[in-house]
């Protein structure tokens, strides 16, 4: 059985309360107004408190419920995919779709266990796939995406 504060419910409750507190903090400058004339801050503040309250309730339940451990997915699966996404965001407008899509494909493939950094199959697939993307989205569908490096 996991420790009281590392069980799934406890972490969930803390997380929700924390998010609520964050939303409350950033709503600080917004005018609240009254119930008749609601300002932009009225609903955000009410809902932030709701979130804090719900977080507290979930946390409270964790003290009586059966504590379940948290099972995180392996970083090996998550990290390459997230890196590939960020890489895509950072490179697209300077390097163009061909290079970016191919690179993202290579990086994303690392998330699958047993795949190596580089192999002929990876290379051929990445090049073929990014060329296909370019033809499909830019040439055929006319999307405004830069294809080549500036």
């Amino acid at each position: 059985m996991p420790h009281m504060f590392t069980s799934r419910e406890a972490v969930s409750g803390l997380l929700i309360a924390l998010i609520g507190a964050m939303f409350l903090h950033f709503a600080g400058d917004l005018r609240t107004g009254s119930i008749v004339q609601m300002g932009p801050g009225y609903l955000p503040k009410v809902l932030s408190w709701c979130l804090i309250g719900l977080g507290g309730l979930i946390l409270g339940k964790s003290t009586v419920a059966v504590r379940e451990p948290i099972q995180w997915p392996s970083l090996r699966a998550a990290l390459p995919l997230l890196t590939a996404t960020l890489l895509f965001a950072l490179l697209l407008e300077t390097a163009g779709l061909f290079i970016t899509a191919a690179l993202a494909t290579v990086v994303a493939r690392l998330s699958i266990s047993g795949s190596r950094w580089f192999s002929l199959e990876t290379f051929l697939f990445a090049v073929g796939f990014s060329a296909g993307c370019g033809v499909l989205f830019v040439v055929l569908l006319g999307q405004q995406i830069p294809l080549f490096p500036k």
Partner: protein
């Protein structure tokens, strides 16, 4: 001919026949829209794509529609809706193929089909299971379409008279329902709902022009990009979960066998299919998880009704026919709240609603009067689309099975790059791709902690609208919350909401008494 006319001379009869005639002529005009070469073509593309992603596990309807959303800008509103809807109900067909032949749900709605469908395939009756699933889906799709056509117009007419209080009550109903029917724990679902509404408030406040929660990022001035959120949650996070928990075996070793069911099998399947259709049609209208719940509900119903419940799980044909009809019927009727009230019943419909807004059409009760070609064209295309799907799925089954052999190491990078391109092209902004990554991480964390995602997505969509209606209602009533109870329609809607909450609590308490050790 003449005799039948004479019999319709009574006043009531002629009123009914007039309505029937109007209904048929509207449906007829819809068919002329659906049957243009362009619309037929895009309906076929939608159905093919839907079947494809339905068959492939790890890529869902939501991510696909989100990816295609930016591409629909160039099409007419009607055509793009026809194509996107085709993806949605096409996936319901495709999902069952994987469930039956590989014991892997291609979509969340075909989880139940694995139970008896796969058993049937192991017994060499895979062809019959596929046939019953496809024909049951077709039947349900047709009946569901007729239900939309019959119920949507009067509902929209009623909704035209709604004002701030009614609209706000309606949104409360939708939001509460989405939390109750999410299938998750109630507190967690409510937390997701509130978080969704808060995320929906990000951006420029419509009423005052104040910037809220933008953190100084100009990419957030127009609000959080909904497509990026959906693709982060349902595209990226799903791919990560799929890789982290790889399915054991995707090979199909079973023979498909004959398609035609025996007379006995047909006698078992047909009533189950009809019951599933009605159950699914009713559940589909509910905001939240109606579409996901309906196959489970149908399976339980069939098991209760069966003379010999022990057959279930051993290849009972009702266990395939009922749930498969239910999920298709509910997918069909889940269009009703959007087309009549402008309220999405689930995240897929919310994306379709987004597609309408991109096209400059405000979803709601006015759609039917202002854009009859869209409404009736879409409905007629569903009839055509279901017919196409029957052809796509039965004779061509071998093709789809072969697609299952695409290895994950190619499928998932491709899905990821498609998600990135989709997020980028909506506003041509790399900021939205970063947002995709952020919500991908959020999606992983939330699914690990067992938070249901659907309430968040509905909160995100409905939140800003609900705020607007709440402000309007409070202004009308000078801050008196009694306005929601004093106005009859609003009171009825709130009463329904209350009944839903009470019956939910009642069921939970009863279950707890029955299994007290479950605490």
């Amino acid at each position: 001919m003449r005799g039948s006319f004479r019999r319709l001379t009574g006043a009531a009869d002629s009123a009914v026949s007039e309505m029937t005639f109007e209904f048929l002529s509207l449906l007829g005009s819809g068919l002329t829209v659906a049957f243009t070469l362009n619309n037929l073509g895009f309906a076929l593309i939608g159905c093919l794509l839907g079947t494809l992603i339905g068959v492939l596990p790890g890529i869902g309807v939501l991510a696909t529609i989100a990816m295609l959303l930016p591409l629909t800008v160039g099409l007419s509103a009607t055509t793009s809706m026809i194509m996107l809807a085709g993806i949605y109900y096409g996936a319901q067909y495709g999902g069952s193929t994987t469930a039956i032949l590989v014991n892997l749900p291609g979509e969340a709605t075909s989880v139940v089909t694995c139970l008896d469908g796969y058993k049937m395939a192991q017994q060499g009756r895979g062809g019959v299971a596929l046939f019953v699933a496809a024909v049951g889906s077709f039947l349900a799709g047709c009946i569901g379409t007729v239900i939309i056509a019959a119920f949507a117009p009067p509902l929209a007419e009623m909704a035209l008279r709604f004002n701030g209080p009614e609209n706000f009550s309606l949104m409360m109903l939708a939001l509460v329902a989405s939390a109750l029917f999410s299938g998750g724990k109630l507190l967690q679902a409510l937390a997701m709902l509130v978080l969704g509404v808060l995320l929906g408030l990000v951006g420029t406040d419509v009423e005052t022009g104040t910037l809220r929660y933008t953190l100084g990022l100009s990419g957030l001035y127009d609000g959080v990009n909904f497509v990026a959120v959906v693709m982060g949650f349902f595209g990226l996070a799903e791919v990560v979960n799929n890789i982290a928990n790889p399915s054991i075996d995707r090979s199909t070793t079973n023979v498909i066998g004959r398609f035609w069911p025996t007379r006995k099998e047909l006698r078992q399947a047909l009533p189950a299919s009809l019951r599933g259709t009605l159950l699914g049609a009713a559940l589909g209208v509910l905001p939240g998880g109606g579409v996901v719940i309906s196959p489970f509900a149908s399976y339980i119903l069939e098991k209760r009704l069966a003379k010999d419940p022990s057959r279930f799980g051993q290849g009972a044909i009702e266990g395939v026919a009922g749930p498969e009809s239910a999920n298709n019927a509910s997918a069909q009727t889940s269009f009703i709240p959007m087309l009549t009230l402008g309220i999405p019943a689930n995240p897929v419909i919310a994306l379709l609603l987004g597609a309408m807004i991109i096209q400059g059409i405000q979803p709601g009760p006015e759609v039917m009067a202002k854009h009859p070609e869209l409404f009736w064209g879409l409905i007629a295309s569903m009839l055509v689309g279901n017919l196409m799907l029957l052809v796509i799925n039965l004779p061509l089954i071998g093709l789809w099975v072969r697609l299952l052999k695409i290895p994950y190491r190619m499928l998932f990078p491709a899905v990821l790059v498609f998600c990135c391109i989709g997020a980028y092209t909506l506003n041509n902004a790399t900021f939205d791709v970063i947002l995709l990554a952020v919500f991908g991480i959020a999606g992983i964390v939330l699914s690990v902690l067992d938070f249901p995602i659907i309430p968040l997505v509905l909160g995100l969509i409905l939140g800003p609208l609900a705020e607007e209606h709440l402000r309007r209602a409070m202004l009308i009533a000078r801050g008196d919350p009694m306005v929601f109870i004093e106005r009859p329609i609003s009171a009825v809607i709130l009463a329904v909401t209350a009944i839903m909450i009470i019956s939910y609590i009642y069921i939970v308490i009863r279950e707890k008494r029955r299994f007290p050790s479950n605490e």
